[in-house]
């Protein structure tokens, strides 16, 4: 695949070219926090650990209008929902996705495009986007991608991968779509990147945590892990605040709600959290997960047992460390994973 070198003095032109071709999403400061957001070429930074929130909102916005209807009986199709947003997808390029997050989005992709159904709102955005990763040479203190099968130079879910080199970039294409996109990008100069990326990968991986042993979790029966005694102890601390689910790149749950006025209405979906009591309560009042212990257990079983079962052993936690850093009571998924494997 094609390889390129972007020199420091060509960096601005590179981002300008990206922004000219497509809508550019890249790491920028928004309200004091680094986020993956629409960026002007001069704002893009290469100096960050990871974005505060996961980049999932690029394809799965926190609130998304799915369809709308009107109530005007003088017009055609009153009270009939018509889809919104599917006919005007803005071609987008994401620059600076961390490899862990790209892997996380690839896990979500298996859910939004599962064995039976395809979510068009996700697919149209996810598949039409070009995803350029930025490898990590200085992983953060809470990062543990290597513990869960990933790498700071991982390629899953990316169309191209870059690394910072002499304050510029070494860049290589990974997919056909990535190669095609970079080939057409004005001003990009070919140059050997591949071997440097491979060497650096080895160097940074050697400084990162080794694999988290999940052999017993993988081999164990669901019910045995479900019935382990440690859940209540961890859950005693959990506030069920849902922070972990909102920041996680592989948490994809949503609620669907209708809103209306006297002229018409919309149906939208909003991020939801399995930490909430309302999430599972039946209309009858019966709740299969009545206390926070069941709800917290669900989240960890989903990440560490159910997703691996459904996705060929792939861990549902990609080790971005966001929940570890942001949980107000310091619940650490690595500790829970060890208990589950104990």
């Amino acid at each position: 695949m094609a390889e390129y070198i972007v020199k420091e003095n060509a960096l601005r032109a590179f981002f300008q070219a990206l922004a000219q071709e497509r809508r550019l999403l890249a790491p920028v400061r928004v309200g004091g926090k680094l986020q993956m957001a629409e960026a002007r070429p001069e704002e893009v930074t290469l100096d960050y650990g990871n974005t505060h929130q996961s980049p999932k909102s690029a394809f799965f916005p926190q609130t998304e209008r799915l369809m709308a209807f009107h109530k005007d009986t003088a017009q055609s199709d009153p009270f009939v929902y018509k889809p919104l947003g599917l006919d005007k997808i803005t071609p987008t390029v994401l620059f600076g996705l961390r490899p862990c997050d790209a892997q996380g989005l690839a896990i979500c992709d298996q859910v939004f495009q599962n064995d039976r159904f395809t979510d068009p709102y996700w697919k149209t955005k996810y598949e039409s986007s070009i995803k350029i990763g930025l490898a990590c040479d200085q992983p953060g203190p809470a990062c543990f991608c290597t513990a869960v099968g990933g790498s700071p130079y991982g390629e899953a879910g990316l169309d191209a991968l870059a690394a910072v080199k002499d304050a510029g970039l070494a860049l290589k294409a990974i997919t056909e779509a990535g190669a095609e996109f970079l080939k057409k990008l004005p001003g990009l100069e070919s140059g050997a990147a591949e071997s440097e990326l491979a060497e650096r990968r080895k160097a940074v991986e050697s400084k990162m945590p080794g694999p988290l042993d999940q052999a017993k979790v993988a081999a164990g029966a669901i019910l045995d892990i479900f019935n382990q005694p440690h859940w209540k102890d961890t859950a005693d601390r959990c506030l069920n605040c849902g922070t972990c689910t909102f920041v996680c790149p592989t948490c994809h749950c949503f609620d669907i709600q209708d809103e209306q006025n006297d002229k018409g209405g919309v149906r939208m979906r909003n991020w939801d959290t399995c930490m909430s009591w309302l999430y599972t309560v039946h209309g009858t009042g019966h709740n299969p997960r009545p206390t926070k212990t069941e709800r917290m257990r669900q989240r960890f079983l989903h990440k560490l047992k159910y997703i691996p079962l459904k996705q060929n052993g792939q861990s549902g936690c990609i080790g971005c460390g966001r929940c570890v850093t942001l949980c107000p009571v310091n619940i650490d998924i690595r500790e829970v994973a060890k208990q589950m494997n104990g």
């Binding site: 799915l66 369809m67 209807f69 199709d77 009153p78 009270f79 009939v80 929902y81 889809p83 599917l86 859910v111 939004f112 599962n114 064995d115 039976r116 159904f117 395809t118 979510d119 068009p120 709102y121 697919k123 149209t124 029966a221 669901i222 019910l223 479900f226 994809h252 749950c253 949503f254 609620d255 669907i256 709600q257 209708d258 809103e259 209306q260 018409g264 209405g265 149906r267 979906r269 939801d272 399995c274 999430y279 599972t280 309560v281 039946h282 209309g283 009858t284 019966h286 299969p288 997960r289 069941e294 669900q298 079983l301 989903h302 047992k305 159910y306 079962l309 459904k310």
Partner: protein
């Protein structure tokens, strides 16, 4: 690209109050657009999201059989926001139907077997669909003996009276309709579903059971079947969990790694025995 979130517009072609407490109403829907009925090709045991614009959606089992062309039927219990709103709608009103969703009962693998169908309360809906389908002349020869046990608290709470009183007249299905306690004007069976099941269930050899009903009924019927020698592979149930998407995407309805909406709602007892009881 097919949009599985988008309901087909339907018209309420018929609605009737199903039970004396007026909590259950049966709706028949006709598709507004020609061609949508073919796209909504379903089998007994599947469900759909009933969509009321501006109110929301609810997952409801399909009560009609695919052999009953021209409309699709559902029976809706009044519970909360959407179901209560539906109880105030009129014939002719436009709403939406999204699906079919979930997997049907395994009618093909049940071929050649005797079948006992056990229903309690309004959970009888998808079992009505199943029986209507099985009794079709082209389907009936595929199955052995068919036994139907159906119970409710009072005679007035029994659904689909016209259907089961017709079935009682046939000799290719044994129908046992029961109520919990003696009631004036009731000459049929009296007793709880588990007790009636114990009395009438065929020997377990080459026989499968399909059970749908409230949790207490299921709790006390399972041991009866186990005692009679039914293996968990031959006990088939349909689960309910709170749902939104119905597509295995929104995450809400999971029981272990399975989504009740996409991978169920039909499971065998042996499958459920491996999963957390989070339903």
């Amino acid at each position: 690209m097919h949009n599985p979130f988008l309901p087909y517009p339907v018209r309420i072609a018929m609605l009737r109050v199903e039970t004396e407490d007026k909590n259950l109403r049966t709706f028949k829907f006709e598709f507004v657009n020609p061609g949508d009925e073919e796209k909504f090709a379903y089998m007994p045991g599947q469900f759909a999201e009933l969509s009321v614009p501006g109110q929301g959606e609810i997952p409801i089992g399909i009560a009609s059989s695919p052999t009953e062309k021209g409309s699709v039927m559902f029976t809706v219990n009044r519970v909360g926001q959407v179901s209560s709103y539906m109880h105030n709608m009129k014939e002719g009103d436009i709403m939406g139907l999204r699906g079919p969703l979930g997997h049907p009962y395994p009618l093909d693998t049940l071929e050649g077997k005797n079948i006992i169908i056990i229903a309690g309360g309004f959970a009888v809906t998808t079992l009505r669909s199943t029986i209507v389908w099985m009794l079709q002349p082209e389907n009936r020869p595929k199955y052995g003996r068919i036994t139907f046990v159906y119970g409710a608290r009072t005679p007035g709470l029994l659904c689909f009276k016209d259907d089961w009183s017709e079935w009682q007249k046939r000799d290719d299905i044994d129908v046992h309709v029961t109520i919990d306690r003696e009631a004036p004007g009731w000459s049929g069976k009296v007793g709880f579903v588990p007790a009636v099941t114990k009395e009438v269930c065929p020997p377990p050899e080459n026989t499968a059971a399909i059970i749908c009903g409230p949790p207490v009924m299921i709790k006390f019927t399972q041991p009866v079947l186990a005692e009679a020698g039914y293996s968990p592979d031959n006990i088939i149930m349909s689960l309910e969990n709170r749902m939104k998407c119905g597509l295995g995407i929104c995450g809400r309805c999971n029981v272990g790694p399975e989504y009740v909406c996409k991978d169920g709602p039909v499971f065998t007892l042996s499958q459920l025995n491996q999963l957390p009881r989070e339903y």
